[in-house]
Amino acid sequence: DQQVKQNSPSLSVQEGRISILNCDYTNSMFDYFLWYKKYPAEGPTFLISISSIKDKNEDGRFTVFLNKSAKHLSLHIVPSQPGDSAVYFCAALGSNYKLTFGKGTLLTVNP
């Protein structure tokens, strides 16, 4: 099941720079897209979401962009901080309210 794909298993950026995490999906029926952050031995923490009828949502340092024609979304973190180092999951929600997750991208922010 590859409905939600995060093709980069890892990303390394310098503190203060922008982190861009990418996600692709195949199911055009998804209604919402969410980003979760996960530290080891913890559950996923909800970060930010976007409705399929929007193309951008911003919350502080986090911005999510949605390109429906390309079935692509991205999470931008500006400026990146060492505490942002974690695994980031993209997830998509359909009408059945079941979340479909990507495999995650490990972000490392270097001081």
Partner: protein, 115 residues
């Protein structure tokens, strides 16, 4: 800040034994979910629960699995006869009955090890 809690944090059991994983969702939430993550794999949906009944379940959620809300605060996942392949992190999640219902909040997880 309200949060989802789960107990135990780690459960070790022998194959064929029954286990019950417990969750306390956020108090004003009405939708409840179980997900699992096998080591190295994606987080997978198991089941959703609303108004004391299952709303949706995946093909993973077979007759060996059941869920229950035994009182006003707990939400449990029971595996009747565990198999080695049930070893995974099990996450409980909940969401509110509002326009933000799509925002699911996760607990810290229970690591289930079946030997």
């Amino acid at each position: 800040e309200p949060e989802v809690t789960q107990t135990p944090s780690h459960q070790v059991t022998q194959m064929g034994q029954e286990v019950i994983l417990r969750c306390v969702p956020i108090s004003n939430h009405l939708y409840f979910y179980w997900y699992r993550q096998i080591l190295g794999q994606k987080v997978e949906f198991l089941v959703s629960f609303y108004n004391n009944e299952i709303s949706e379940k995946s093909e993973i959620f077979d007759d060996q699995f059941s869920v229950e809300r035994p009182d006003g605060s707990n939400f449990t996942l029971k595996i009747r006869s565990t198999k080695l392949e049930d070893s995974a992190m099990y996450f409980c999640a909940s969401s509110a009955r509002t326009v933000t219902r799509y925002e699911q909040y996760f607990g810290p997880g229970t690591r289930l090890t079946v030997t």
